[in-house]
Amino acid sequence: MDSESHKSTATKLVYMANQIATFFHSQPKDEAAAAVADHINHFWEPRMRQQFFDILEQQNNGLDALVVEAAKQIRKPGPVPV
């Protein structure tokens, strides 16, 4: 069955990132990319950001152009402390 529950985490992350971009699209242009990056840095746990970078490398990843632009300013996750 094609239920919402079976959406993969990757699909969800793309969706969430684009949702954030949608909001900042309406904000003043010069701050938008930085604001998207800032938001993701603030709220996304490292493994989510890692998955995000994996997605970013794929062709046709479905990411909004603003998200792609913001990616430069999104922090690369470091190793998990043991």
Partner: protein, 958 residues
């Protein structure tokens, strides 16, 4: 231990600032102008006999017991209705007065049963007290004549006699004992605002009656109990008092249900609660309460409570009772094993917005210091996280701006996406009182909530928008205010960034945001919208109150910012009577957020990436807190399904029932290797748990709750925990089992640690709370007694920030397959997932969740009122019974989510707020059709739940 006594001044306090001085029985007393002589006397310590007056309601002057004499005036006026004036000389006890009072009492007693010894009110009856006070020694009239006391007079049935009404589960009405003082009627009108009671008949034949001679349960009565509290006799009496007897000691504590945070006296006999009486000094509720707080505490001793810890290897096994030690050891070993195997970040926890601040603080401390990660979240995620984000961005702090008293100074109230009469009843009563005195009301809600039209109240405007279009409507209100030049330029120039304002003003002014342009989208009449905007901007003090109908949307945070914009643009911030007021759902939503329950924030809303904040905790706790945000609840579940998140400790929340997209939650929990549920009952989440730790109720522990107005209220222990330990002790023991060296012996020490580490709590101690009753944070050097109103001389962030709020339609759209929009809410008698209220007599008001549907939509589908209907969405399907109503518009259906069998969240989707992931509960595209009974999922789920709740009985041989 003794009873907490409150003085009854007889009439309400006067708010006048002008003082007058007079002499009563030889003592001089100074009181505000407008104070009654009765109250003035009481202030001087002189108690004038009275029956029909009490200080919760206005004086009525009917019993004639409180007469006094005034020098230079004729007659004997009633002290409850005569105002104090400069220079009066008053006598409360003269021969003439004594004779009149005796006569009055004689008449009362002659129509009152004399069964005092066996009466439930014995020892707590004002009629009895007054008979004593006036020195009544004999009654000349017998019972032979007309009376209301006996069913039969000399063998003939007595028409005046009425049987007891025992229909309400919590109190009885015995008309034989009524003295027709009308205190109950006035309490219902003035305090509660329901107008359920009347005095039926005239003169001697008059009697109190709910509605048109109905039973209490069938009447408009909402069982708030204000009338019971007001009744001076045993006429209206709590059934618990009838059963148990009069209390012998009491303690002041705080309701554990909703975010109003009402103060109560828990009146006890030993460790048994006799009754809960709202506390007049409670600054949130001022002596009032609703049916939940006053009456629905029976769950605390319900037989379903689990009192022993339990463990099982697989969730398909039956539960096995174990010792506490074994349970702690099991959890500690499992979490350590999982972390060793899958990494440090593979476990986490959820704090409860029902537990105390101290308990919440300890759970997040256990996770950050013990688990060594930031994977902590709270169920506030699913309700008010957008408030945090939105208000922090615009004002600089995520808290509501006012105290509840503020509503008394409001001229225009805008209620958006909230249903106060059901969700926040005591605040609703206070709001209605203000509305009856003339304040104007604007309601923005898809459904015609009770407030829109209730006795003596009618909303000036109801913007009945389509679910999901809040941003468009609120932005359009701003459009009207800006384009018609109704904004408060002086305020904006002084307090906000003028350039940002201009940018925002040009954004909202654009024609596509006009009421006419959005009508098709929102369904709101443009003229109504314009008038609402004008009223709000020009009607005087404007206050906005909002609830989950704002936050639980994919644009929840955007709406919160739009609301903040509106308040700033109209200058409605920073004084009494105005402000932005989020109505919080659960009792300690505010507190759980304050205490660092979010994965990105340490206590006091400081981001984990902030080194100086981490440093405070690192030093005190001797650890190194990670500088990266942790997982939020939905992310934890995603990670669980992906196999990187394996263990969770859940205190006092039922995520399986309360979170959206049940199937996904279930899949996440199922994928974990150690789920620990710490709760009162085997809740729905516990069906997926490996360890169950029994929880304790608010009656069984000390601590604090923080209500929607940031008020820190004490919770006081009145009975020993049935399960043996308060929740904070369980968390501490678990921490110890994991090797942490915690040694708290009382929750006050946890509060000391909170104060030490968190600037907005720096001044809070249990001693201060003992002295002040309660304080509102920030409470520190700058505000030693707390802060009732925020942003008085400027915003917490400096300048208020205007933000553009573009409407974006949710992706949850209607279409041919799912043509209707489902929105959800709650009702008065039940609370959240209903785990507690379903275990009390409150079920008499709400046996099941019903689907509200407009007659037009019902007819198209051949559905009649009461039919079983099937409701499906992209996520799933469930069944419930239909209720045909015109409260919702065609195209919109509505239900509550209090009962697990309904499984309303099987149909809600995983769409969520863009900024906070707060789920979009308030909009789901659905189809509704006739059905024969429970869905497959419901049947399957019931079976699984039944299997999962089995507890293995150890037989004697083992």
């Amino acid at each position: 231990m003794s009873l907490v006594h409150e003085i009854d001044y007889g009439t309400p306090a006067s708010l006048s600032e002008k003082m007058v001085t007079l002499t009563i029985d030889g003592s001089e007393v100074t009181v505000p102008e407008g104070t009654s002589l009765m109250r003035a006397a009481m202030e001087a310590g002189i108690q004038v006999p009275k029956l029909c007056a009490t200080d919760m309601v206005d004086a009525f002057g009917s019993c004639r017991l409180c007469l006094i004499e005034i020098e230079g005036r004729n007659g004997t006026p009633a002290s409850c209705t005569t105002p104090a004036m400069e220079g009066l000389v008053v006598h409360t006890q003269t021969k003439r007065l004594k004779d009149i009072r005796k006569g009055v009492m004689e008449l009362y007693i002659s129509d009152h049963p004399l069964d005092c010894l066996t009466c439930a009110a014995n020892g707590d009856c004002e009629l009895q007290d007054m008979a004593g006070a006036v020195g009544l020694r004999d009654v000349r009239y017998g019972y032979e004549g007309d009376n209301h006391v006996f069913a039969k007079n000399e063998g003939v049935s007595n028409d005046r006699w009425m049987p007891k009404d025992e229909s309400n589960p919590y109190f009885t009405y015995d008309p034989a004992k009524c003295i027709v003082c009308s205190r109950c009627v006035r309490a219902c009108e003035e305090v509660q605002g329901t107008f359920a009671l009347t005095i039926e008949g005239r003169g001697f034949s008059s009697r109190v009656s709910p509605g048109m001679h109905e039973h209490f349960l069938d009447s408009e009565c909402v069982s708030c109990g204000a009338c019971v509290q007001a009744c001076p006799t045993a006429t209206l009496t709590e059934k618990s008092v009838i059963q148990i007897g009069q209390p012998e000691h009491s303690k002041v504590t705080t309701c554990a249900y909703c975010g109003v945070g009402c103060s109560f006296k828990a009146e006890m006999r030993g460790e048994e609660v006799v009754r809960m009486v709202p506390y007049k000094d409670g600054k949130a509720n001022r002596g009032h309460s609703c049916v939940k707080g006053r009456f629905a505490y029976g769950y605390s001793t319900h037989k379903d409570r689990i009192l022993n810890p339990m463990v099982r290897e697989k969730i398909t096994d039956p539960w096995r009772e174990v010792s506490w030690e074994e349970a702690y050891k099991h959890v500690a070993n499992e979490f350590r094993r999982i972390q060793y195997q899958y990494g440090r970040n593979s476990v986490g926890g959820i704090t409860s917005s029902r537990c105390t601040n101290e308990e919440t603080f300890l759970v997040q401390k256990l996770i950050r210091a013990g688990f060594g990660n930031n994977n902590v979240d709270t169920c506030a995620r699913v309700c008010h996280s957008p408030t945090g984000y939105g208000l922090k961005t615009t004002f600089g702090t995520s808290a509501g701006t006012q105290d509840f008293d503020s509503v008394e100074h409001t001229d225009v109230v805008m209620v958006i996406g909230a249903n106060p009469t059901d969700g926040h009843p005591v605040f609703a009563s206070r709001l209605k009182k203000r509305l009856r005195k003339g304040a104007k009301l604007i309601v923005v809600d898809p459904r015609r909530i009770d407030l829109v039209r209730s006795p003596h109240i009618s909303a000036a405007q109801h913007l009945q928008l389509r679910p999901g279009t809040n941003v468009a409507v609120v932005t359009s209100l701003a459009h009207v205010i800006v384009t018609e030049g109704l904004f408060d330029e002086k305020f904006i120039r002084e307090r906000c960034d003028w350039e940002e304002f201009q940018d925002w003003a040009s954004f909202v002014s654009s024609p596509e945001h006009s009421p006419e342009a959005i009508e098709e989208l929102t369904g709101v009449n443009p003229q109504t919208l314009r008038e609402a905007a004008r009223l709000f901007a020009t009607g005087g003090n404007g206050a906005i109150y909002y609830g989950l109908g704002v936050t639980e949307h994919s644009q929840g945070s955007t709406t919160v910012m739009a609301i903040a914009n509106l308040a700033m643009a109209t200058g409605n911030i920073g004084r009494k009577g105005v402000g932005v007021n989020p109505l919080r759902g659960q009792n300690n939503v505010q507190g759980s957020c304050d205490m660092g329950s979010f994965p990105h924030e340490l206590p006091g809303y400081r981001h984990v990436s902030d080194e100086s904040t981490r440093d405070i905790f690192d030093k005190l706790w001797g650890v190194k807190i990670q500088d990266e945000p942790g997982l939020r609840i939905p992310n934890m579940l995603d990670a669980a399904v992906d196999g990187t998140f394996k263990g969770i400790y859940i205190q006092g929340e039922d995520i399986l029932q309360s979170d959206p997209d049940t199937k996904h939650v279930a899949a996440g929990l199922e994928a974990m290797e150690c789920v620990v549920v710490h709760d009162l009952f085997l809740n729905e989440t516990a069906n997926y748990a490996h360890v169950f730790l029994p929880g304790s109720t608010f009656l069984e522990k000390d601590g604090t709750f923080t209500n929607a107005e940031r008020r820190i209220n004490r919770v006081r222990k009145v009975m020993s925990p049935l399960n043996g330990y308060a929740d904070w002790e369980v968390t501490q023991n678990l921490a110890k089992a994991m090797g942490l060296n915690w040694n708290y012996t009382h929750p006050s020490q946890v509060m000391d640690e909170i104060a030490l580490t968190t600037p907005s709590f720096a001044g809070v101690t249990y001693d201060l709370l003992e002295k002040e009753g309660s304080v509102q944070w920030p409470c520190n050097e700058k505000a030693p007694l707390g802060t009732p109103i925020m942003h008085i001389n400027g915003f917490a962030r400096g300048k208020g920030k205007f933000i553009r709020t573009e409407y974006v339609a949710t992706d949850e759209r209607t279409g041919p397959r799912f043509p209707l929009l489902l929105t959800t809410g709650r009702i008065l008698s039940q609370y959240n997932v209903g785990a507690q209220t379903r275990r009390t007599d409150n079920v008499m008001w709400h046996e099941e969740d019903r689907l509200e549907i407009h007659a037009h939509d019902a007819e198209n589908r051949g559905i009649r009122d009461g039919d079983w209907v099937k409701i499906n969405s992209r996520s799933g399907e469930t069944t419930l019974r239909a209720l045909i109503t015109d409260r919702v518009s065609p195209g919109v259906v509505y239900t509550t989510f209090h009962h697990p069998t309904t499984q309303a969240n099987v149909i809600t989707t995983d769409f969520s707020d863009w900024a906070t992931n707060c789920p979009e509960y308030k909009v789901t595209a659905v189809q509704v059709g006739a059905s024969n009974g429970p869905s497959d999922w419901q049947v399957q789920y019931d079976e699984q739940a039944r299997q999962s709740r089995r507890i293995k009985v150890l037989d004697a041989a083992e």
